[in-house]
Amino acid sequence: MNRDRRGKSFYILASLFAAFVLFLYGPIATIVILSFQGPDGGLTFPMHGFSVHWFHALFQQQMVGDFGGSITRSLILAFMVMVANVVISVAGGMAFRRRFAGSTFLFYLVIASLIVPSILVSLGIGLLFSQLGLNPAWWSSAFGAQLTWTIPFGLLIMFAVFNRFNKSWEEAARDLGAGPWRSFTNVILPIILPGVVGIALFGFSLSYDEFPRTMMTAGDSNTLPLEIFAMTANVTTPVIYALGTLTTAFSALVIIVAMTSMAIIRRRRAAKLG
């Protein structure tokens, strides 16, 4: 009887879950299909033939503002944010393993960085740069603005990692005479490596797609999301879907590479320990 009751709630909730997954992925699936519209096709179904016309159109200067430049800037910036995010979050995560003067304040600052509405960070940094007479640019002000968004996620991952971290490994390294740096590189880092890959993934992906904190801080040269947002106002052809398909496919590739490397690291470790 207990089993029956469980069964019923399972099927109802499984249907809800399936509907939610459809809701989550259905729209993106439709624009992937529509990006292969024929040259005469529009923004909605039906399909007028099937072609890669709109993908070709992407690379012609007049169709999309500055696609080549903006994607180059976005990739370089995402790489910069990824590296900085890993270094700052791992160091910060190590620091937060013990209390230090100001640690509570710094912790609340990290939380604040996550929940202060992005448009305020954007406007504040924009004002700061303009009042100091500095030109905002994607590699300076937007870089810092994006870090305020990625670092909290990096630190939360580190907190989760160190919660499950067995300190006796580190103690053993120290007892055997390893200095702080050696015990970090030889003991701690290999153990936390999957988490570090996760931090890198978050840093790269969140930066690559970041819009609200970049909006007022990128200066004269757009990143890709700014270019896409500008297109939403004035592009009325499926070229915007082609761009959406390409950039989503790229994000998916980054996620797959990161997850696969995490799985490989874990499997190798299990093999070693087993």
Binding site: L13, A14, F17, F20, V21, P27, I28, T30, I31, L43, T44, A84, I88, S89, A91, G92, M94, A95, F96, R97, A101, G102, L106, L109, V110, A112, I115, V116, S118, I119, L120, L123, G124, G126, L127, L128, Q131, G144, L147, I151, F159, K167, E171, R174, D175, G179, P180, L201, F202, S205, D209, F211, P212, M216, I228, I240, G244, T248, S251, I255
Partner: protein, 302 residues
């Protein structure tokens, strides 16, 4: 911690800083890059916003003299009040829907799905879109909701309606839909995290004592998921209150939000006015967060 102290005491020859977790000075050194980045790109900019909100301006530049006129302008304008009210409305409706979805999806993952691999796999299915573009995800609703979109075509085909529904796109409905689409995972993640920590024996104990499905939910699972619900609520409220992208794409240029109002003032170079509205928004968000934190302790989750 006591074990680390014991280890350090047992090994007095260890060089300084040999205590796992490092010294206080070492911790400071490690936290320095974090403190510098947040100082320069969060604390100073927010202080800058507050300062600029009290400055005067003309049509071309900011004038460095102290005024409260920006705040008087903001609170004496009916349009400002309406904009804050409609934004708050979006936040509350989105919160209610994402809470419902977040609670039941997390419940399904935590208690109905069997096996850690399935649980994590399905959880990832819910959370992976977070790492893709919000703008693209918002645009992707256009083919479904437009006048000639999928929803209208299907409804017309089955004669459920006789002319296309126009409220589907470029409307408050579309705005809320996009908010739910983008932000539900911010509810699912913390609630799922809370639920996974619930001791399964408590649920068995409730069942053994004769509690039915709903009684178990109300008296055991809901109270123990409170922290996750609180964190999810903070995320959803702050994301919706500050939103700019979803409202401008899904509202079709007619809809207002605080984010759009601030953006408009910025594009007209009325920076002190934008800063005043930004400070008001920040104050409202902080009050809401403060109220939520009175109910839940987020440090418990870390």
């Amino acid at each position: 911690m006591s074990s680390t102290i014991k280890a350090a005491a047992a090994n007095p020859t260890a060089r300084s800083g040999a205590k796992p977790g490092g010294t206080s000075a070492g911790a400071w050194l490690l936290a320095t890059p974090l403190a510098i980045v947040l100082g320069i790109f969060l604390v100073i900019p927010i202080l800058m916003l507050v300062v600029v909100s009290f400055l005067d301006y003309n049509s071309v530049q900011i004038i460095w003299s102290f005024v409260v006129q920006n705040y008087i302008d903001a609170v004496s304008s009916a349009a400002t009040w309406q904009t804050f009210a409609v934004t708050l409305k979006y936040a509350v409706i989105t919160w209610a829907i994402t809470l419902f979805l977040g609670f039941w999806l997390s419940y399904f993952l935590a208690f109905e799905v069997r096996g850690a691999a399935w649980q994590m796999g399905l959880f990832l299915v819910c959370s992976i879109p977070f790492l893709t573009s919000n703008i693209i995800r918002t645009i992707s609703w256009i083919p479904a909701l437009g006048r000639n979109g999928i929803v209208n075509s299907v409804l017309l085909h089955f004669h459920l309606i006789h002319q296309p529904l126009t409220f589907l796109l470029y409307s408050q409905f579309a705005i809320i839909l996009a908010f739910v689409h983008l932000n539900t995972l911010f509810m699912v993640t913390p609630i799922f995290n809370s639920m996974m920590r619930i001791d399964r024996t408590l649920i068995e104990a409730a069942r053994d004592n004769g509690a039915g499905f709903w009684q178990t939910i109300l008296n055991v699972i809901l109270p123990l998921s409170k922290t996750g619900i609180g964190i999810g609520t903070i995320f959803v409220i702050t994301l919706v209150m500050g939103d700019f992208v979803s409202v401008s794409i899904m509202g079709g240029g007619q809809s207002a939000s605080v984010g759009i109002m601030i953006q408009n003032e910025m594009s007209q170079l009325q920076y002190p006015a934008a800063a005043a509205n930004a400070v008001i928004l920040l104050a409202i968000v902080l009050i809401m967060v403060f109220l939520i934190l009175r109910v839940v302790d987020i440090r418990k989750e870390l």
